[in-house]
């Protein structure tokens, strides 16, 4: 009713309002499109370039070919490096899950003065361990330990860098497990490790799955640590090997790099979807709400 009256008596303000609304909508759409393009274009490149006979740094519809993958499969270091990445990622994941759950469980259950301060400090300092600043001392330490050019050494350093964050996140999951569950198990004679395995770990499973994916992603993409600590090319992970793909002319070999990048990213994306489907973020409660 009011709209009809408005349009008959005063048409001016009404159309101006519509124009403003239209312009606002336009502005919003353009802004969204720009932001979207910023994130989508690299992904499009990753999807198209591997199948392009002459890949460049721009995104274009490919002259379709599988040749890039054939070249990649003929390159012995490339495929082996994916295996190395897998060793590093899974190794670190295991170390992080085992040590992380033990540490976070005990930190969650045992009262130590200054516990929170300790956790926050560790969290702050953790970025330094795998960061550039600590690379020289880390390198020297690994030389002293005789762990240079050892995948085990790389796993240790990477796990060390990830663990504080892992403990911090997992402690929250452990905290949310009701104490009565454990006390109940204790009364039937279960020992702490048994309780951790039977009761606490199953309940923290969504947390552990998240941590596992996160650890794999962190290690999978890490370049600096394996680059510095590993000497022999046969042990290098994919992230480091990719750095060596140059043509004879000294130009980056985009055909090889793009195909390899696609292969390199698939496991991580697949793992994310798998874990999200399998575990998601559910929590079964045993208590009447």
């Amino acid at each position: 009713m009011t709209a009809v009256q408005g349009s008959t008596s005063t048409a001016g303000p009404e159309s101006r309002q519509m124009l403003r609304h239209f312009l606002g909508l336009m502005g919003k759409s353009v802004f969204t499109a720009l932001v979207l393009a910023f994130f989508v274009i690299p992904v499009l490149w990753l999807v198209f370039a591997p199948f392009d006979a002459h890949p460049g740094l721009n995104v274009k519809l490919p002259e379709f070919t599988f040749n890039n993958f054939k070249v990649l499969l003929d390159n012995p270091t490339a495929i082996a490096s994916l295996g190395n990445s897998l060793i590093l990622a899974l190794g670190s994941m295991v170390v992080v899950l085992v040590l992380g759950s033990l540490a976070s469980y005990s930190l969650s259950r045992v009262k130590i003065p200054g516990r929170d301060l300790l956790l926050y400090t560790l969290l702050l300092l953790s970025s330094i361990i795998t960061g550039t600043a600590a690379m020289v001392p880390t390198f020297l330490l690994m030389v002293k330990l005789g762990l240079i050019d050892s995948q085990f050494g790389v796993i240790l350093v990477l796990s060390g860098g990830i663990l504080p964050t892992v403990i911090f996140i997992l402690k929250d999951f452990m905290d949310s497990t009701p104490k009565s569950y454990e006390e109940s198990a204790r009364l039937y004679g279960a020992k702490p490790l048994r309780i951790l395995w039977d009761v606490v770990i199953p309940l923290a499973r969504p947390g552990l799955a998240t941590i596992a994916v996160w650890a794999v992603v962190q290690v999978w993409g890490n370049f600096l640590v394996p680059y510095i600590l590993l000497r022999s090319p046969s042990k290098s992970p994919a992230a480091v090997v990719m750095y060596t793909f140059y043509t004879e002319g000294g130009q980056p070999n985009l055909a090889l790099i793009s195909a390899f990048s696609l292969l390199f990213s698939i496991p991580v994306v697949a793992m994310y979807f798998f874990v999200n489907r399998r575990y998601g973020f559910r929590f079964h409660g045993g208590i009447k709400s």
């Binding site: 009701p178 039937y188 045993g286």
Partner: protein, 359 residues
């Protein structure tokens, strides 16, 4: 099956607060024993100390003839049902019930058949493959009981087992619990803040306050002959009327009105002694005609209790309030002047410290 004995048991928290203070109690073999008190009185702490989940500061606990004071909870052969039931949400009902057997390394087939057997006894047929989250509150409670039964303990410990159920279900579960305990004959200690629950279930009740035992007795003793004014006001669905008064020539002066001396107190009090006179609303009656030795007052509030009503009578002069339970046929209208009557043997006297006078 076993008795439980605590000697000078003390549980002191950091900061010097005592959850359990000098507790000496013997719980007989096969007894259904209630620990009753307001929240924060230490009843749960005592239960947890018996279970071994809290370490006692000093004193001793014996279960049967075994000294368990410094034993791990798992070695005490006790089973506890928690207020939240503590069922493992990721395990099936069958696995939950059989968990104590898993710890004892019983083979899987045997575990399964034992879980089924206990499940049948606790009317959990057809639910064994479900998860706790799919069960109602009452069913979850029975699963928690079943798990406790499976471990074949010497002692059951229940921490407010009924408080998470809604009112109607609670009555049902109460009857079930009492029957189960009778059938199994296992010594059972249960903690509650609900005096009606304690009166209904327990063979004997211990009433606690600030970590100290106030009274230990059968439901009838605790109800009729409370040891002190705290117990008198805590136990009973309506709390006892407690009025300040003085002893004067063979009676008790409440304001200017004189009532008869309670039977118990005859010969134990002297004139001029300051006392508290107590009478349960259920044991009082009213009369619309003046009664010698009755308390005169005016009705100010009337609360319907179904087949009866709880009326509040205000005494003149000092404004003391007396509550009386009257049957629905005799409910007076507000403002009525009446006389509160009673049998002297149903009334009690408490001394200045609040302790009951008499044996």
């Amino acid at each position: 099956m076993a008795s439980i004995t605590t000697r000078s048991l003390i549980k002191e928290y950091p900061g010097g607060v005592r959850g359990v203070d000098e507790m000496d109690v013997t719980i007989h073999d096969g007894e259904f024993f209630a620990l009753l008190g307001p929240s924060g009185c230490g009843k749960t702490t005592l239960l947890r100390t018996i279970a071994g989940l809290e370490k006692s500061t000093s004193g001793s606990i014996k279960i049967g003839d075994r000294e368990v004071t410094n034993m791990e909870p798992g070695q005490r052969r006790v089973a506890m049902v928690f207020q939240d039931y503590a069922l493992f949400p990721h395990m099936s009902i069958s696995d939950n019930i059989a968990y104590p057997l898993k710890i004892q390394k019983v083979a899987k087939a045997e575990r399964h058949s034992r879980a089924e057997e206990v499940g049948d006894k606790l009317s959990l047929q057809g639910l064994l493959e479900r998860r706790p989250g799919q069960l109602s509150g009452g069913q979850q409670q029975r699963v928690a009981l079943a798990r406790a039964v499976t471990s074949r303990p010497d002692v059951f410990l229940f921490d407010e087992p009924l408080s998470n159920l809604d009112a109607r279900l609670r009555l049902e579960a109460r009857t079930f619990l009492k029957k189960l305990q009778l059938d199994l004959g296992v010594t059972t200690v249960f903690v509650t803040h609900d005096q009606a629950e304690a009166l209904a279930l327990a063979d004997r009740i211990a009433i606690m306050r600030s970590g100290k035992m106030q009274q230990l007795g059968t439901p009838r003793e605790v109800f009729q002959r409370p040891a002190n004014t705290f117990v008198a006001s805590f136990v009973g669905s309506t709390s006892m009327n407690l009025l300040k008064g003085t002893v004067a020539d063979g009676g008790v002066m409440i304001g200017h009105q004189k009532v008869a001396l309670p039977a118990d107190a005859v010969g134990r009090v002297g004139d001029g002694q300051e006392i508290t006179w107590g009478a349960r609303p259920e044991y009082l009656d009213i009369s619309l005609n003046p009664v010698h030795g009755g308390l005169e007052g005016t009705v100010t509030v009337s609360e319907n209790l179904g087949a009866s009503a709880l009326i509040t009578v205000e005494l003149p002069e000092n404004g003391d309030l007396v509550q009386v339970v009257v049957s629905e046929d005799h409910e007076p209208v507000i403002g009525t002047r009446l006389w509160v009557t009673f049998e002297p043997r149903r009334t009690l006297l408490f001394d200045a410290e609040g302790l009951r006078i008499g044996d």
